[in-house]
Structure formats: C-alpha cells, structure tokens
C-alpha cells in the first residue's frame, strides 16, 4: 500500500462523512474528474436560440457553473485554461461587476460575421476579428492599444462600436462585447427578477428545486427555468439546502 505521499486531507474525506450528519438529498453531482467543457456544453443547450432568431451565439454565465461544481477555484482555473487555449471568450456584460458571460470563440466569430453580412462595417469587423489575439484573455481595450497595436483609425473604432463588437467603457477604453446582446441582458435580468419573486412569494420563501422547474413560467420569463435556476444558485442569491425530498431553494434575506 503506497500511503507515503498521501495527503492528510485525503484521509479525512471519508472520516468527515462519518462524523457529520448524513448528506441526503440525492444531489451528488459526482465526484469524478470535473469536466468543465462538457458542463459548458450542457448549459449552452439551455440557451434559447430561437428567441433571438439565431443572431446571438450561445451565452453561459460564469457563475452558472458554480451551481453544478462544488469547487469554485477549480472551475475558475479550468476556465482560465480554456481561455488560454483560445477556445473560450469571456465578456463583461455590464449589469454586475461579477457577472461574466462565456462564449465559445468559434461560435462568436461565426455569429458576428453572419450578422455583419451585407453591412458597410463588415470589412472593419473582419479585420478586428482577425487581429484579436488568438488566446484572448482580455476583457477590454484601451485607446492606445487600439491605435498602436491593432493600428485602427478613429473612424474604424467608431465603426466597431456601431457594429456592437466594442462597447464604451469610459473615455478611451472599450469592453469587448457581443453584438445585439442588449436584448439578452434585458430578458436575463427580467427573468432573474421574476424567478426570484417566485421563490420569495412561496410559503416560507422557500421552494423545492424540482417543483420550481415544473412551475408555469410567466410571460416575463423568456428563458428556460433551468437556465435561471443555475444562475440564481450560482450567484448565491438563494441558498441551496439538501433535504430528504431533494434540493430546497430558500431566499437569502439580507
């Protein structure tokens, strides 16, 4: 038995279960090797493409992954790895300092170019997408970067902002953004508020997750219920409590 290099913390993974109260709720998300990429793909299927007439790439929020995997630091590390490999792009969506949207880069490039079809700004946008460093780890660009590194003129920058690829951050710097994502943000915030209200209005401000998934959605909730539930659990707007009848979501009153 090779115990020589075992960590002390590993020895207590089993002990902890015996000492603590039984973990019930049948919500074991599997302690196998965390495959962030497959989780991302499953979450992306929840994104409603028809709603935007296929003009937007599939967007997943970073904190939605926290609701599926327990170890947040590990999720962050894996996401950074994917971004460094150039497969994933992260965007600052603007409504919350911590809310980051994730899009696969191939998806993003395809949708942006498809959206620019037949427009005057197409050439500039193509040039920008080519110039974008392949593993793009930055969320925003400052003016001198645009002028010197990418060699864009002022009028070209204006064209990029018009086409939606860049959004104004403050005087002289821009966020990288997804064109036509305004609708997405609007529906997202609306839906999040509506789902949170549904939880708040329930008796004792708590509801079982499975019950919430089956509830009829009002006209305010445009996305799938599961998408919103992952969002509110991951952003810790509700407490997720394991019970004998499944996971319970309870409103966090501050």
């Amino acid at each position: 038995m090779n115990r020589k290099r075992a960590l002390i913390s590993d020895a207590f993974k089993v002990k902890r279960f015996r000492n603590e109260t039984q973990k019930f709720g049948a919500v074991s998300k599997g302690d196998g090797p965390t495959d962030i990429r497959s989780t991302l793909e499953t979450l992306m299927t929840l994104f409603p493409r028809k709603l935007f007439n296929d003009s937007l790439p599939q967007i997943v929020m970073k904190h939605q992954l926290y609701s599926i995997h327990n170890d947040k630091t590990l999720v962050d590390k894996e996401l950074n790895k994917l971004r460094e490999q150039g497969e994933l792009l992260m965007f600052q969506l603007g409504f919350d300092a911590d809310a980051f949207g994730l899009v696969f880069s191939s998806d993003y490039k395809a949708k942006v170019l498809a959206g620019e079809d037949g427009r005057a700004t197409r050439a500039t946008v193509e040039k920008f997408l080519e110039k974008l460093p392949s593993p793009c780890t930055e969320l925003s660009f400052s003016k001198d970067k645009m002028l010197k590194e990418f060699r864009f003129t002022d009028s070209e920058i204006t064209q990029l902002v018009k086409s939606g690829v860049l959004t104004v951050r403050d005087a002289g710097s821009w966020w990288l953004s997804i064109p036509n994502s305004g609708k997405f943000t609007k529906y997202f915030i609306q839906g999040r508020k509506a789902v949170l209200n549904m939880v708040k209005k329930s008796k004792y401000s708590e509801v079982l997750k499975t019950e919430l998934e089956e509830r009829r959605t009002t006209s305010h909730v445009k996305f799938q219920m599961k998408y919103h539930i992952h969002d509110i659990v991951g952003a810790e707007l509700v407490e997720s409590i394991p019970t004998t009848s499944g996971t319970l979501l309870r409103c966090v009153d501050s």
């Binding site: 020589k4 020895a11 207590f12």
Partner: protein, 401 residues
C-alpha cells in the same frame, strides 16, 4: 487514524504528520459541547477576544459597554463539566474603564502582565493586569478601530493603531512617543496587522478599498498595495485601480506562517494574497456575507494539514478550507450576530463572541467509546460515584494483567 499511528511507530512517517492529522480531525469535528461553557459577564455584545500566546490559558474579552474581562480557560477541576471562570474584570464601576465600546484588546505578546485595549472613546490604554490600572493612555482624534502589537518583535515595541484618520500611527511602548506616522490611505483605517514572520512588516486595511503593506523601517511610503486583478487593467473599470476589494476592506488576517494574507471586504468577498509579492491567489470562497461597519475579527487555524479559516457570517461562523476555498461547514449556535472569533492552537478549540453577550466554546467532539469500553464503564460506574476523566485515573497496577 490507526494507519497514522502505526506509521509513526514504525518510523515511516514524520512525527509531525501524526500531529497534523489529529489536529485536522479535531478541527473537522468542532461543535458545541454542553460540558464547556464560558462565564457570562458581559451585559452587552462582545466585540473582541484574545487568547494569550504564552500558555494559552487566559482569554481577554472586550465588550460594547467598555467592560474588559479576563477568563481562565484551563480545566483543573478533574470534572468533565467546566465553566471558564472570569478571573478579573474592569467593570463599569472602575475609575479607569473605557467610556464607550472597546473595539480591540490584545495581550502583551511576551507575558500576561500587561494588555492593551482601544476603544471608541478615542483612547488606547495599556493596562497592568495585577492592579487593573492603566499604565499609559494614548489619546487620539478619532475613534480607534483597531490596534495590533507585533507578536514576534524583539527590536521594537510599536503598537500600530488604525483610527478614523487616514494616517496610521505607531505608538512606542518603551518611550510613549507617537511621532511615527504612515501616510498613504485616503479614508479611515479599519484594520491593522503585523506579520507573524517579519517584525517590520505591517498590513493595513482601509475604507477606501485598499490594503497596503508597509515596511516600518523605510522612510518612504508603502511597499505595495494589493490589487485584486493582479495588474490586469482590462478587468476593472479604470477608476478602480489597485483596489483589494470593491467595497470597504474590514478584515485582515495573516496565516500562522506569515506567507499568506487573508482580507475580507463589504463586497462579500474574501481574498487570499501571497504576502511577499502581493499577488492575488484567486482562490474563490464564494459569497462571504459581510455587513460590518467596523473591523471583522476572523482567524485561521494553526497546525492542521489543510488550514481552515473561521469567518463570522451573520449569526453563524463559516469554516472554509484555506487553499481550495470550499465551505466545510457552518457553525451555528449564536442567537445574534457573531463579531469575533479566536482559535486556541493547543487544543484546537474555537471561541466566538457576539451581540448576544455570549462567548461560545466550540470543542472537538469526543470520540465515541468502543463497545468493550462501554461494558467496562457500566461496571465501573457502580463503583465510582463521580465520572472522573480516565486520563486522571491511576492506571498503574502492581501485577501484570
């Protein structure tokens, strides 16, 4: 656990490993014990606790009514049930008591003959424990949020004081002078902490969202300011430069070896920093609820293999693993907000104080007795009238059986 014991016996493992394994096991089983209690003296909330570093026997607590109490934590009564008695109190009737709430108390690091307390009545008093009279009083212009004496300093005896003034004052215990001032912050200083590794390194946290690390021997400004984005200018908005948190920073704690620094802020985040380079290690603890307008006293375990952080979160204490950021457990027991917590390294116990005027002692749960021991104790119970801790019993017998 038997595996660790046999390995230690055979010499396969280092002796430290068994000690660490047992400490970790004890910390993972912390819970409230009906046999352990702390005397209830305070009539108002408890703001701060400190356990002395020399023996770990005496505990100081400072309350919102200005009262300071000293407790004896050692159990010499040979009984399982023990209430930590208050040895002496600086109560409301004392001539020298603080007028308003006591925010920080700290024992003199080398012996229990002296302790220092600072309060919202804009004074910091250095007390003589024997007579309970202040040997020295330092007065300030604003409320004193926090003070700290270096636990390892031999060459200096400076007390760093954080007040509503953006300048950090260093008061010298030996001479009583306070001319040494550290400038750099722009808003009130909520917390100050000396490094347990180097006696000249000081970290300070302020309401302007910045955390600065200073070398007190240098004449120029701070060594560096902690930046949550590690210099990546693209992540933050351009005004928010070099900020450790997106809100007021109100808690600071070094790990026992001084290599890492933990900070908590009112943006509900806790961050772990490399204290030598100031780099954010990007460990994600999730939402650490923090609404405190004053200093938040939290603590890190010592001597365990994955170290644990104990943070007061509302009316419970959250226990996180230090380097992975996962929430291990929530310790629930207080009736109102928890304000302070302190870890006793020798016994792996946690003492927490809060607005409900209680100090709770969280003790590692005792092991469940084995089946054979149970039948033996049933026989012995008839013989003994009082349940004496088997460790105190005379186990020596004259014949070999």
């Amino acid at each position: 656990m038997l595996g660790f014991l046999t390995a230690r016996q055979a010499g396969v493992d280092d002796p430290l490993r068994l000690r660490r394994a047992e400490s970790t096991r004890r910390v993972l089983s912390l819970k409230l014990n009906p046999d352990r209690d702390v005397d209830r003296i305070h009539g108002n909330g408890i703001n701060t606790i400190d356990i002395e570093a020399v023996e770990g026997r005496y505990m100081l607590s400072g309350g919102a009514d200005g009262v300071i109490v000293i407790y004896d934590l050692e159990n010499y009564s040979r009984k399982l049930q023990y209430t930590c008695k208050a040895v002496c109190t600086v109560g409301r009737s004392s001539r020298y008591v603080h007028k308003f709430s006591v925010e920080t108390v700290q024992w003199y690091p080398y012996d229990t003959g002296m302790f220092v307390s600072s309060s919202f009545d804009k004074t910091m008093k250095v007390w003589d424990t024997e007579t309970l009279k202040p040997a020295e009083v330092f007065e300030f212009e604003g409320n004193v949020y926090s003070h700290h004496l270096s636990p390892i300093a031999r060459k200096h005896s400076l007390i760093a004081v954080g007040t509503t003034d953006p300048k950090i004052q260093l008061c010298d215990l030996k001479s009583g002078s306070r001319i040494h001032v550290l400038q750099g912050h722009r808003a009130e200083i909520l917390s100050v902490r000396w490094s347990p590794r180097y006696d000249h390194i000081l970290a300070t946290a302020s309401a302007d969202s910045k955390v600065k690390v200073w070398d007190v021997r240098r004449a120029s400004g701070s060594l560096f300011t902690l930046d949550q984005h590690n210099g990546d200018k693209s992540k933050a908005s351009s005004e928010a430069v070099n900020m450790a948190h997106n809100g007021r920073v109100n808690g600071l704690c070094f790990t026992a070896d001084g290599l890492y620094l933990l900070t908590t802020g009112t943006d509900d985040r806790m961050r772990l920093w490399n204290s030598a380079t100031g780099e954010n290690t990007l460990v994600n603890y999730g939402k650490v609820c923090n609404e405190s307008r004053k200093r938040l006293q939290f603590t890190v375990s010592r001597g365990c293999s994955p170290e644990f952080v104990f943070v007061p979160c509302g009316s419970s204490v959250a226990v996180y693993a230090l380097h992975t950021g996962e929430l291990v457990t929530m310790l629930r027991g207080h009736y109102n907000n928890v304000d302070c917590c302190e870890f006793h390294p020798d016994y792996q116990e946690l003492y927490t104080g809060g607005k409900d005027c209680n100090i709770l002692a969280w003790v590692p749960a005792p092991r469940a007795p084995d089946v054979e021991e149970e039948s033996k104790s049933a026989n012995q119970a008839a013989a003994d009238l009082s349940s004496v801790n088997p460790a105190f019993q005379d186990a020596w017998s004259s014949d070999e059986d």
